[in-house]
């Protein structure tokens, strides 16, 4: 159906940065001053052509709190996913009580190394529920090749969140477009 995805916020990196925020009200990177809220039940978060400054570094995610637009750095991030690669047997992965979500781990700096991802965000602005995402990523890494992760992540705090922070474990993001869409209600 046409018009089912409504772009809410987007940021394309033009100068290297270590932290950006989509949504997040006045903390948002785009200056649009928008938030993830109850306007939509589900939001789609996409990452396109991400590149990093430090080889084999990790792009991470955090929720930003509606209360003060700041990233939640507490150890309340869990995930479970299947890690897929043509270079080794697929493996089950799970982590609890991390201080961030994982996103594009093992990002590289070589030619054509890049990452893409989609994640659907559920209950983000619901004060009574944990914030969930279903999550699919693909990274091309020259050694060995493609890495893909497919699974889910949850922030185990019942609080209202209004955005998503994209950050690095080390170094900077040097390029990439990050977008959130609302799934239109009918």
């Amino acid at each position: 159906m046409a018009g089912s995805l409504i772009k809410v916020d987007e940021f394309t990196i033009s100068s290297a940065v270590a932290s950006i925020i989509l949504g997040g009200g006045s903390s948002g990177s785009s200056g649009a001053n928008v938030s993830i809220d109850s306007t939509y039940d589900v939001y789609l978060f996409t990452t396109t052509n991400s590149d990093v400054s430090v080889d084999n570094s990790n792009i991470l995610l955090r929720v930003t709190k509606t209360s003060d637009n700041s990233a939640d750095t507490t150890a309340n991030y869990d995930n479970a996913y299947k890690l897929l690669s043509p270079s080794f047997d697929f493996s089950n992965q799970a982590n609890t009580n991390m201080t961030s979500f994982q996103h594009l781990g093992g990002s590289g700096t070589g030619t054509n190394e890049s990452g893409v991802a989609t994640a659907y965000l559920f209950n983000w602005a619901n004060t009574n529920e944990y914030s969930f995402m279903t999550w699919e990523t693909n990274i091309y890494n020259q050694t060995p090749a493609l890495f893909s992760a497919k699974g889910g992540q949850v922030h185990t705090v019942a609080q209202s969140n209004n955005g998503i922070q994209i950050l690095m474990n080390t170094g900077n993001l040097t390029s990439g477009t990050f977008t959130i869409y609302g799934l239109r209600k009918f």
Binding site: V17, S19, G31, N58, L60, T73, D89, S91, T99
Partner: protein, 102 residues
């Protein structure tokens, strides 16, 4: 290799973040330098990342280094036929190349 403590990793991370300055955040359509609290958080994040790599990095390295299950079964079959130790040698080599920290 001696296991490092989180305090030692915080010291390393502090040095690395100092070297990486200035770091920037994009906020409200402006690229601005990290605040003191953001630098502090970046140091903690890097230290925790280093600790996780130390404690768990060998697991993912071994996962990537092991031959596929199919290949390992094939190794075991031919080991049984030929009275060789190809499979055990492979496993031992991967473990040796990617030691558990101690």
């Amino acid at each position: 290799m001696a296991i490092k403590t989180i305090a030692q990793f915080r010291t390393e991370a502090t040095s690395e973040i100092e070297s990486a300055k200035p770091m920037f955040a994009q906020v409200n359509n402006q690229r601005r330098e990290f605040t003191d609290s953001e630098y502090t958080q970046a140091i903690e994040d890097l230290a925790q990342s280093k600790l996780d790599t130390q404690d768990n990095g060998y697991k993912s390295a071994r996962q990537e280094a092991y031959n596929s299950i199919q290949d390992q079964l094939d190794m075991q079959y031919w080991d049984s036929v030929n009275s060789t130790t190809t499979w055990a040698d492979h496993i031992a080599q991967v473990k040796s190349d990617n030691p558990k920290p101690s």
